[in-house]
């Protein structure tokens, strides 16, 4: 006991270190300042601006948005693009990731898949206009083989934007999914197989439950990306009608009507819709097992 009483008090540095604060913590400062300056401040500024409409009470912008179908329909239009695109990207990515995880030379394939990300949405949109357009290779090839009589309309409508979002979004979804799939201890699948589980049962009872948390994150990140669609909705879509997404409405308010207050309100609504989806998915994710995906002590 006496040795305890005579222990010199811990220095300030030691006490801070116990709470996880040391010199390395200071490295967070630049990032924190950056986030404050280019995210938190503009967000709060926009939020306040949205409550200062050109005319009417403080909620006038929001009342206007939700009373004009031309405006409030953009939410459904955007969801109708973003949700199917995200789900289809995930459904495509999962089986490919399962195959690729067993391959020894993943790098080449990964490089090919990452390329579309580097191209940018505008280049992809231009390419698709040429390829899927009425005089594009796609329709011409189908017509050559007599499968169709006249060109299929795949640009300047919903499907053009859909295709472009899949092409630019898939690599991202795939790489995320691949990292989650390869993170699962291969011995778990072996143990399942030896004890009688067929391929589908192994997926259903072992892989899927362990993948759900990762897939939820992949879903959210892809969804948020697709929800902000703008260039391809204009270049490849029908920006006045079926692909008039919410970002177009915000753009028009800001740069065609010069109503920054209304544009801010639309941006806030956009954020709120995404937040609802994010919270819902995270809630579902919390219902599942989220611990280690290893089968035991290493």
């Amino acid at each position: 006991m006496s040795s305890l009483e005579h222990t010199p008090p811990a220095s300030l540095r030691q006490r801070l270190a116990l709470k996880g604060l040391d010199g390395v913590t200071l490295l967070v400062v630049p990032a924190a300042l950056f986030t404050l300056a280019i995210f938190v401040y503009p967000f709060l500024y926009g939020l306040l601006l949205s409550f200062e409409p050109k005319e009417g009470g403080i909620f006038a912008n929001y009342q206007h948005f939700f009373s004009d179908p031309f405006l409030y329909n953009t939410i459904a239009t955007t969801l109708w693009l973003a949700v199917p695109v995200t789900i289809i990207s995930l459904i495509l990515a999962l089986p490919i990731a399962f195959r690729v995880r067993l391959m020894t030379r993943q790098r080449l394939l990964t490089t090919i898949l990452v390329l579309p990300v580097t191209l940018g949405t505008v280049l992809v949109a231009e390419g698709l206009l040429n390829y899927l357009g009425p005089q594009g290779w796609f329709s011409r090839t189908l017509m050559l083989f007599g499968i169709i009589d006249s060109p299929v309309k795949l640009t300047n409508n919903y499907w053009g934007v859909f295709a472009s979002l899949i092409i630019t979004g898939f690599p991202f979804t795939f790489l995320l999914t691949l990292s989650y799939v390869s993170g699962i201890d291969p011995a778990l699948e072996q143990a399942a197989a030896v004890h009688g589980a067929r391929a589908w049962q192994r997926f259903r009872h072992v892989f899927l439950p362990l993948l759900i948390p990762g897939l939820a994150i992949a879903f959210l990140l892809s969804f948020v990306q697709a929800f902000a669609v703008f260039p391809s909705a204009i270049l490849l879509g029908a920006p006045a009608g079926p692909t008039r997404v919410i970002s177009i409405a915000a753009y028009q308010a800001a740069f065609e009507q010069y109503d920054y207050s209304m544009a801010s309100a639309i941006a806030m609504i956009m954020a709120a819709v995404q937040l609802v989806i994010v919270v819902a998915i995270l809630f579902v994710r919390n219902l599942f097992y989220r611990g280690s995906t290893a089968g035991g002590k290493g």
Partner: protein, 354 residues
């Protein structure tokens, strides 16, 4: 007792081989495992023992030969169609399932009715002494408990054969001894047939009915633990089984099973393994236990170079005037640099062709 023993007569490996590119990991492994046996596949790392186990489990395809379960050829079957139970080195428990679901996994995959799964899982939990732990996740258990769950998961499906891949290598020394006894108890209680891979000769000697020694992908010797310990067929197996003293010389006399060899002017005698003519090059091999401090007149004079305390006794190395190094066993500590007299017990020394 609900859990039944193996329902088969024998597993037969017939020239089983596996090549990785041009490397032969397994060559012509032929072995018959009879119902109820506990077989240890023993060998140093890289000898092909885990490859052999994975080939039998179906996790690795064979590239030659065949595997029969009684009269049924099984080497082309998928792992899920072979019906074995397996305990993995890192346990490979499903981390998102409770202990009960882990144990019942194989039964559920087979479509066993729920009530029966519950009954058999209860019994398996009792057998591995984990009553009351069924609701926990594997991450909440200690290493030894996880190991028990892995064993329960493998035996609850009543497999013809239980495969174990170095199941004790991740446990600490005390737990390893406890689990070793548990594994043998469960094997006996169930009347199971077990194929156990290990690199630890103590484990193999204490657990197995028969030991199969593998080296470079081939079977070098199959025998009862005692045969393997007392008279290994080859010098390399003797080395692996703990014959740490190896002295090279020439055979000077032989009389039936016994022979005498001359090592740089010193004579040693021991039991002959293999046929060596007088004058032929030979190696005499002996355990440290059989080289002891002696007061006899013909004892070897040597100087102690190192000494290690081993609990009840000491093990040391000593060098003779002729430069022979001997590893010896002593009841009392000998100081480094001291002169001692050593003798090699001719009853337990073995002589192999060099």
């Amino acid at each position: 007792m609900l859990l039944a023993s193996s329902k088969f007569d024998e597993l037969r490996l017939d020239h089983m081989s596996r090549a990785f590119g041009t490397v032969n990991a397994l060559r012509d492994v032929s072995l018959t495992v009879r119902k109820g046996e506990f077989i240890a596949l023993l060998g140093p790392s890289g000898c092909g023992k885990s490859t052999a186990l994975n080939c039998i489990a179906g996790l690795l395809a064979t590239t030659g030969g065949s595997i029969y379960l009684d009269d049924k050829r099984i080497d082309q079957l998928k792992p899920e169609d072979r019906g074995f139970g397996m305990v993995f080195q890192n346990y490979a428990l499903f981390p998102h399932m409770t202990v009960r679901s882990n144990i019942g996994f194989g039964l559920k995959m087979r479509g066993t009715p729920k009530a029966e799964i519950a009954k058999r899982v209860d019994e398996a939990l009792g057998l591995v002494r984990l009553e009351g732990q069924g609701h926990k996740l594997p991450g909440q258990l200690s290493g030894g408990q996880q190991q028990r769950v892995a064993i329960a998961r493998a035996i609850v499906i009543e497999p013809p054969l239980v495969l174990m891949d170095e199941p004790l290598s991740n446990l600490d020394a005390k737990l390893r001894l406890e689990m070793r006894a548990e594994i043998r108890r469960i094997h006996n209680q169930l009347g199971a047939t077990t194929l156990y891979v290990t690199h630890d000769q103590d484990e193999a000697l204490s657990l197995a009915d028969r030991i199969v020694v593998l080296r470079d992908g081939q079977i070098r010797q199959v025998g009862m633990p005692r045969d393997l310990y007392e008279s290994p067929d080859h010098l390399d197996i003797a080395e692996f089984m703990g014959y740490r003293n190896r002295l090279t010389g020439k055979v000077t006399a032989r009389d039936g099973e016994r022979a005498t060899i001359d090592v740089r002017g010193t004579s040693f005698s021991g039991r002959l393994r293999g046929d060596i003519e007088i004058g032929g090059a030979a190696v005499i091999a002996a355990r440290a236990d059989d080289v002891t401090v002696s007061k006899a007149n013909d004892a070897l004079k040597a100087t102690v170079e190192t000494i290690e305390y081993r609990g009840r006794e000491f093990v040391g190395t000593a060098r003779t005037e002729d430069g022979l190094e001997l590893i010896f066993h002593a009841p009392e500590a000998a100081a480094v640099g001291n002169a001692i007299s050593l003798s090699l017990d001719p009853a337990h020394a073995l002589i192999y062709a060099a």
